[in-house]
Symmetry: C2
Subunit: 578 residues, 2 copies
Amino acid sequence: MDKILRIDMGAEGGPKAVEEPLGAYEGLGGRAMTSAIVSNEVPPLCHPLGADNKLVIAPGILSGTTAAMSGRISVGCKSPLTGGIKEANAGGQAAQVLARLGYAAVVLEGKPRDDTLYKIFIDAGGVKISEANDLKMLGNYDTVEKIKEQHGEKVACLSIGPAGEMKMSAASVACTDMEMRPTRHAGRGGVGAVMGSKGVKVIVLDDSGMKMRQPKDPEKFKAATKEFVEGLRKNPTTGEGLPAYGTNVLTNVINEAGGYPTFNFRTGRFDGASKISGETQAETETARGGLATHGCHRGCVIRCSGIFNDKDGNYLTKQPEYETVWSHGGNCGIDDLDSIALMDRLDDDFGLDTIEMGATIGVAMEAGLAKFGDAEAAINLVKEVGKGTPLGRILGNGAAVTGKVFGVERVPVVKGQSMPAYDPRAVQGIGVTYATTTMGADHTAGYAVASNIMGVGGSVDPLKPQGQVELSRNLQIATAAIDASGMCLFIAFAILDQPETFQALMDIFGGFLGKDFTADDFTALGKSVLEKERAFNKAAGLTAADDRLPDYFKKEALPPHNVTFQVPDEELDQVFNW
Amino acid sequence: MDKILRIDMGAEGGPKAVEEPLGAYEGLGGRAMTSAIVSNEVPPLCHPLGADNKLVIAPGILSGTTAAMSGRISVGCKSPLTGGIKEANAGGQAAQVLARLGYAAVVLEGKPRDDTLYKIFIDAGGVKISEANDLKMLGNYDTVEKIKEQHGEKVACLSIGPAGEMKMSAASVACTDMEMRPTRHAGRGGVGAVMGSKGVKVIVLDDSGMKMRQPKDPEKFKAATKEFVEGLRKNPTTGEGLPAYGTNVLTNVINEAGGYPTFNFRTGRFDGASKISGETQAETETARGGLATHGCHRGCVIRCSGIFNDKDGNYLTKQPEYETVWSHGGNCGIDDLDSIALMDRLDDDFGLDTIEMGATIGVAMEAGLAKFGDAEAAINLVKEVGKGTPLGRILGNGAAVTGKVFGVERVPVVKGQSMPAYDPRAVQGIGVTYATTTMGADHTAGYAVASNIMGVGGSVDPLKPQGQVELSRNLQIATAAIDASGMCLFIAFAILDQPETFQALMDIFGGFLGKDFTADDFTALGKSVLEKERAFNKAAGLTAADDRLPDYFKKEALPPHNVTFQVPDEELDQVFNW
């Protein structure tokens, strides 16, 4: 990872690739890399779909090594959804492969001169950019099939579906998994629309002949990795809950806690929860010959994913995540796993953020376009998006646009991005994260659910405002550092509660870099990322007024606890005051 | 005008009206009143369509007197289009009638408990609020016909069409003219959507038995009014140009100056301009038995309006304004007056801002939904809005939403509101106003075109950045004061260049109030309005980043002068530094 690949998609005579040394970006990776390049190089007031925006794709600092869990890839840009800076990250194979190819970042720049669609192929021999109009408006699944025909099954793909080509603000960038299926998505904030605006359909990565990245202190690195993996295995969440039931283990947990947003955030409990829970899902998967335990990339030891087959036992989609099951499920009053899995498949194929899409359908239901609980209608709405009808264009641009177009007041967004699967009234810590993160409403940016609900990393009463700001602040800092490392965020469950596992992570860093790496270094890394992001957002015109939940969360009490969001504005404004 | 009428549309048991003394709002009118109430009482971060927003309807300080030109009514709220404060004003009969009824403001508050639609009737006897579901989804023309049946032809109406009921951000509030046609619109910023969100279809005003408001110093007032009218009559613009050709006299002028935005702001000159000019329009109107010179309210001495009949000599619409002819005409590459007049009629009937609609169709054409120049396609797009199809919902929410939904980069908006009929590159002073006014892109907020193009109020080179900030600042201050007075903005042509006419206006104020009223008082009035508005917008989250033109105006040179917008950001930030 000693170079950056820049591709000017607007160059005279066609796209032009240039390799550069790292320079000022030396030592960065993942979110630290994407946010550094975006904040340094992208004019904050530029149009997100214009020539001045850049799409930055970066493996984590530890990606491409033998460190377990280091397979996350970051995709950054100015977001067409939020108008602020964006980093969306994903699992799958791309991070490891790109890192082994030696690229710390691929940067798509400029604006195409016509509507030609391109494929970018990168291997040990360098970069080839070719016209790929035959892939136009193909879904991600068909796109990857075509790539298999051309390049075999050992490559990794980053691709967009029709949603990205149509520059929809809910469009994702899909990454292929171990089976070369486009199931892992850098979903949030419309990164797929920016890739579409650059005229790039797919980036194909082939690391044939390349080796693992080598640590500077191999012994320290190896010992730390071993300790780290042991820590993950012995932790009840990463060692048992997630492998057994996947992220959807949370449906029953959050529903029981009264924080499961149901009927577009009207209540905190869903009668049909048990029918779509992780337990039911795992049972269904196993019964149909799918898999309830499966990794999304090589090197994963948690293996929280799975394979969801249809009733006939044929592959339908990967195991839908908790947030997907919620967004298309309880949030829309839908309690049918097959319908939810079909929407997951459609979202993955069209290249759409499942959270944004489900929240959008909830808003559409609130607008009267379909009835809560009507799974068939919900599926048809997702299909509209793929077709790009006017209605589909509205929905594909997310909940905020849909609310605006249909005159709906109850739209659960912050900075234009829809809230995920935790009601901020019943889980006030996550409300602080939703409100203040640079990313727009995003649970992964500071997962206060851990301490609010699961007692991980301490325990903070979810229904009271006290302690939430400090909790969210600390988690946002740690998360930014993890997102820079290329590590899967789920390691947090283990490192928050097991000092020796946290230390093992520091030693993985230290072993890799060949120098001491302390908790202070880790914190400093996280803070530096957040500071760059905040500065970008400020220059883009975002203010404290954007660090707020929609008004109605402060007024409308959520059953069953009948609570409103209580954290005062003045406290929200202290999250980044460290 | 010694009382405020507040109607709580969300009161238990149905809407409830209360009359209040003026209190802190004593002495205010028009925009000074609407912006004072909105900035005092509306939480800046509330949802524009929610319970906390208020729709404030206020006649000007001088409305209802015998002062010529004092018939403007202000409609204010938090804007669903811009997210900031909004004052949209209109001519027609409403201001005079409301003022004579003694109301300095009517304030619609709260949120209806169901979807009942209401009619509010106000006369000397008080207020009656009644269910009006029979008017649901009627156009403004049909609505007014129904009101005529119920209340005769001597009342004034403020109403919304289907666009307002559908809470579209381009929805206007229509005011009836002297012929009781709904042709004068408080158009900009979605004030009609806010009226729709309050469940009010129409406000009917009957001033039977009420008298003109009396000045405290009748002799001074009468003499000043006479002098003022003489000043308007002798001024070439207000005495000749506007009466003869209406505002559309500008088509040839702005086209000749190379500042006529054509094909969605691609060029500054339109080949078909002469076919849709004010001169051609006046000729057409006269030939078809319409009127080329006509007032929009009693007491108007400029009479810049007219009556546009169709080819068979039947009334089609009032004389379309310059900005309407531009937006649906040259901006869309359309050079057919009949098509433009039909769109004007449709806009008025559906209750839509003609500027926003035309600009939106330009963006839709840029997105490929119709070809530039295709009048039939443009008409069909407007009809979609009236029908409320998904496509119509998109378009009815304006250019910014349309651009976002269809992934278009070239969207000529500031603060989400579309630019009017003057390209800011070729008329840089108006560019400063577009960028910085509290209202979102709005020519009326500081009409620098006067000095840039017409040599009125001094002369500032339109193609250079020098002097534009000072010009726009002074005009924005004066405009805010005029908008408070209830005077038609067109008096500015006379008062800017004729000191005696300016003094006459001060003496009208002084005579009415029974005290000295100086140029300093006038300036202080304007500044106080702007300061309130800026403070509201700041609290609503708008920053210097929102006081900018879209990026491409700084990069893409406009033919024929091949100029970009040159006023530096730092200078823009000095507009409100007085």
